[in-house]
Amino acid sequence: MLAYAFRRILQFVPTILVISLIMFFLLNVLPGNAALMAAGVQDRGMDAKYVEQMLKKWDLDKPLHVRYWNYVTNLARGDLGLSFLRGEDVRQVLLARFWPTLKLALVAMAIAIAVGVPLGFLSALRHGSWLDACSMIGAVSGVSLPQFWLGLLLMFLMSVKLRLLPTSGYGDGSFSHLVLPALTLGVGYMALLARTTRAAVMEILSADYVRTAAAKGLSRLAINGKHVFRNALILVLTTAGLQFGSLIGQTVIVEKLFSWPGIGSLLVDTIFQRDIPVVQGCILLIILVFLCVNLAVDLLYAAIDPRIEYR
């Protein structure tokens, strides 16, 4: 299993390379040399000598392939370059923003799993009941909700009307600031998990081995707990892992809405400021996290399903 994990991590390299290549060329073939603009040369009537200096300082006078080579070799050493705007090391900028995002995503995920999976499970066991109907209407609504709108509504209800929670911001990192953004982020994921769990359990309930277990005289509890739940978990885990990407994507919106000082809001801000090195860093970091989560999911399979072996 260790060897498998190692090989999978090695496979990250080509993926990251291709993505960095596409990103680099896309972001650097900008019309009007926007990288230069971000470097502080905003005025058109700027001194030609200064422009030249800036070009040299940021290596923008070199051909694109040379710059990409420099970028990739630096990347291999874990060096993401300097921010155009602030001149800070991109690593430091990202590091400062990583924990708030991680905290937000993990709490959102925890809420989603804690509610979504049991709800889907119960809906399938009692399918056709009012609980099933309600939770599935809720689930399809949850999938369709624009998250920023849900966030606005929650903000209006909890902060403006009831004055229970702060509207936005990180505060001192306390839980009360985290509740609204995490809930906003978690609802869509929760709905998705509920739907997937229900579908998976429904399918398994009609499987032969479940009937055999019942014929054998096992109690309902043992059947549902041992056979149905464990088998459904594999299917649920797959979706959970794949859809984690969209959860990370959504942090961009939620962080922006709630002025949360994470990677997502940093990405949007730097897109507007055209601070290319930071934009690249944010995107690579998000993709890396996504790849790691999917690897973790694959490794978890073995823990749940002994039939799966890693080679």
Binding site: T15, L26, V29, P146, W149, L152, Q250, V252, I271, I283
Partner: protein, 280 residues
């Protein structure tokens, strides 16, 4: 035929989703007839941020424009984005999936490698990256969404082709000496159109949601274009004084996406034989 009608009646998702979608499409088509005011020029600062009333059913925004009219016209932006970008994605995905599944070999490896890379980038992040390059604007949203969400169509098409390839009708067409392109387009494609349609319907919903998100961030449709996401981009500042500005555009997005998702689910129930079997 009677059987088909009976199936339709049983499909609540399909009926409700179809009805909602139809209403939104009609709203977009007949926007000039339905909207009580002009969505852009009818700005009256003296009547800004008025709460919903008889004259302004949904209230007015900060510039005194009628929110109802802007919501009605916003359907045009959303539907145009959803339909056009998903059309592009479907064409790309189906062509790649069809050829990858049918031709196999290195082409299949290449296409699947590309698809897996596309799937490993969160779609919204990819769209953001492209918007970062192209700059804000509605036209750029078409580009950012039209070429980035084909991986699901591609995967579904490919797996369907792989299953169809060894079936009798394809073998028969081969034996008859039909060319590869003809077999792909005339034999296989019509037989696998169901699952592709399901993915496309859900894709339209996804594109509308993403456009709204991009516009909310200020990267999509620029003012004064009436777009649902754009109308919400400044809503947070008015949440204390004029909450109705936040409510109606969001409701429009929600209902539209809900309708399309239900329609997609309904189509899946009808067109995908596997789920029908488990339902019975």
């Amino acid at each position: 035929m009677n059987g088909a009608l009976r199936t339709l009646k049983r499909q609540k998702n399909l009926m409700i989703g179809g009805a909602i979608t139809l209403v939104i499409v009609l709203m977009a088509l007949f926007a000039p007839l339905l909207a009580p005011y002009d969505p852009i020029t009818q700005a009256d600062l003296l009547r800004s941020e008025e709460p919903p009333s008889r004259t302004f059913l949904f209230g007015t925004d900060t510039q005194g424009r009628d929110i109802l009219s802007r919501v009605i016209y916003g359907a045009r932006v959303s539907l145009a984005i959803g339909l056009i970008t998903q059309f592009l994605n479907s064409v790309i995905g189906v062509l790649l999936g069809l050829t990858a599944g049918f031709l196999g070999r290195w082409w299949d490896d290449l296409v699947m490698g590309l698809t897996n890379i596309m799937l490993s980038i969160p779609a919204l992040v990819l769209a953001l990256a492209i918007m970062a390059v192209l700059g804000p604007g509605l036209f750029n949203v078409f580009l950012a969404l039209g070429f980035t969400n084909w991986s699901y169509s591609c995967r579904v098409t490919r797996s369907q082709v792989l299953a169809a390839r060894s079936l009798d009708y394809v073998q028969a067409a081969r034996a008859l000496g039909q060319g590869r392109i003809r077999i792909m387009l005339r034999q296989i494609l019509p037989n696998i159109v169901g699952p592709i349609l399901v993915i496309a319907t859900l894709g339209v919903a996804y594109a509308i949601l993403t456009e709204a998100s991009l516009s909310f961030l200020g990267l999509g449709a620029q003012p004064p274009t009436p777009s649902w996401g754009g109308m919400l981009s400044t809503a947070r500042e008015q949440l204390f004084t004029a909450p109705w500005i936040s409510i109606f555009p969001g409701l429009a997005i929600f209902v539209t996406v809900l309708g399309l998702n239900l329609l997609g689910d309904g189509l899946r129930d009808v067109l995908d034989p596997h789920t029908i079997r488990t339902r019975r």
